[in-house]
């Protein structure tokens, strides 16, 4: 474990019983909702490893749903989230699955949004309530939710990344971490940018109008 501060040792304030299986699960649900970018109405949730084996006793299912509903880890409605989901018209099916060589606390969401959006998200709860999103729609990613994050689907061609970073330079936004991956050369590619500052709507609009940019998703910090 690296350098921590007093609030890592006292906190988070959370609904129990487990920081990894409950608090982390809420945050995974919340991230999946943010990645979908709208209110989810239907979905499948696949639980892997320890999430599948001991999730029930830790309320992992309740916590994941609470996150999908937009709740935070200290929300006392978490124990009743399944009921709230029903009232909100969110229909979910839970299954256990072997997701392969991944962290023991891993979940895969397949979500349908109110406005027709669809997304598949894989994420892991890696301890102490910390999480990492590993996959979005078959693209490998690494998003921890501790920074404002841009997920940009674009064409794999020279200069496409540069025009995005130039726009960020103009907006005085500093990149903390960056990851680029692609389906194959010249095909669809994904760029993940974790930034020190929150990106403003005007810059986002400009970014969406850039050539060879298919989709831009801005995910707020958890």
């Amino acid at each position: 474990m690296g350098k921590s501060n007093v609030f890592d040792l006292l906190g988070p304030i959370m609904v129990g019983p487990s920081s990894s299986h409950t608090a982390g699960a809420v945050r995974l649900g919340a991230m999946a909702r943010r990645i979908l970018g709208e209110e989810p109405i239907q979905g499948t949730v696949l639980l892997h490893g320890s999430f599948a084996k001991t999730g029930k006793g830790h309320g992992t299912d309740l916590a994941l749903v609470a996150g999908l509903l937009g709740m935070a880890p200290d929300d006392e409605r978490i124990p009743t989230s399944l009921m709230i989901a029903k009232e909100c018209g969110l229909s979910l099916s839970f299954q256990t699955a072997d997701l392969g060589d991944v962290h023991p606390n891993t979940v895969k969401f397949d979500l349908l949004g109110k406005n027709g959006g669809h997304v598949v998200v894989v994420g892991s709860s890696i301890g102490g309530g910390s999480i990492v999103i590993r996959e979005i729609n078959d693209f490998h990613v690494e998003i921890r939710g501790d920074y404002p994050t841009l997920v940009i689907l674009h064409q794999d061609l020279p200069g496409v990344v540069a025009q995005v970073t130039l726009l960020l330079t103009t907006a005085q936004i500093n990149i903390a971490r960056m990851l680029v991956s692609r389906e194959k050369r010249g095909a669809r590619a994904l760029m993940i940018l974790e930034t020190d500052q929150k990106i403003d709507d005007a810059s986002l609009d400009l970014m969406r109008k850039l050539p060879r940019i298919y989709q831009v998703l801005a995910i707020e910090q958890l």
Binding site: M1, S4, V6, F7, G11, I13, M14, G16, P17, G128
Partner: protein
């Protein structure tokens, strides 16, 4: 490598409390004012207080049905004046069970340092508050002392049961609570280190063997025994009893023991109490 000893020496040299040294350190580390840090810590203190109150009055049971109602039993006996070990110790047991039960029943708690060990620190602090005249400000300072020691433990060893067994969770919580208790009772910076060392030494080797993998058995009751060890260690240190092995070396020993501990005894529910006939039966019945 950071050392608690460095903070003790700095506090002694400057004639300050250990919490004040930690506070200064964190103002630099987090680039936040003293006022902001106190506000943030106050949010934790308030949530801790609420979790004790919720647990002493709640009738809830955990998802597995194994946990709930024990805090109330101890508290009722204490109120009847029948406690075998004295009002304060019984009060601490009830508070520790209360918070740990709230956690097991999906109520709101403050991880201190983890959710599984959330009952130890509030039990110790609020027991001292009930017995002595201490201000809210002093309680907050004591939380900085506890968390500061936690930083050293996390850096030199671990506070995760999956990495270091229960000694890393309840053991760390007991050491943090012992240091906080000493400061709250007016002890010296050196005595906070001795209390923490004595508490952690009493917990070395404790494995993490949760039945059915749940944060219930034996976790809830270990919060109460952890709080007892913290208070006993604080009492010794305040009396002038010293730890032969300094706190930083005790922490290193805890970390090493954690590494030597087999995986079956580190939160995997594959050893210890989890694989007893009864432990297995509970797992089958529940899952």
């Amino acid at each position: 490598m950071s050392a608690y000893e460095d903070w003790v020496i700095e506090a002694e040299t400057k004639g300050l409390k250990i919490s004040e040294i930690i506070l200064q350190n964190q103002m630099e580390e987090l680039e936040q004012s003293e006022q902001v840090l106190f506000q943030r810590m106050n949010t934790n203190l308030k949530a801790m207080r609420e979790s004790v109150e919720a647990g002493l009055t709640s009738k809830r049971r955990s998802l597995s049905g194994l946990v709930g109602g024990d805090a109330e039993k101890v508290e009722e006996r204490r109120k009847r004046g029948e406690s075998l070990i004295g009002d304060q110790m019984s009060g601490a047991i009830a508070r520790a069970l209360a918070v740990a039960e709230v956690n097991a029943c999906m109520g709101k708690i403050v991880a201190a340092p983890t959710a599984g060990s959330c009952g130890v620190l509030p039990a110790v602090l609020f027991t001292i508050e009930a017995a002595r005249q201490v201000s809210e400000h002093e309680l907050l300072l004591a939380l900085f002392t506890a968390a500061g020691l936690g930083i050293i433990i996390a850096e030199r060893a671990s506070v995760s049961g999956a990495e270091g067994g229960c000694q890393a969770e309840i053991g760390s919580a007991a050491a943090m609570a012992a240091a906080a208790a000493v400061e709250l009772a007016g002890g010296s910076p050196r005595q906070t280190a001795d209390a923490a060392a004595i508490a952690m030494k009493s917990m070395l080797g404790l494995v993490c063997d949760p039945v059915a993998g749940l944060v219930e058995v034996p976790c809830v009751k270990r919060n109460a025994t952890g709080a007892m060890i913290a208070l006993v260690a604080a009492e010794m240190a305040l009396s002038g009893v010293e730890s032969a092995i300094p706190i930083d070396e005790v922490i290193d020993a805890m970390g090493n023991i954690g590494k030597q501990m087999p995986c079956a005894l580190k939160e995997t529910a594959q050893g210890g109490l989890a694989v007893t006939p009864t432990g297995r039966r509970i797992q089958v019945d529940f899952l």
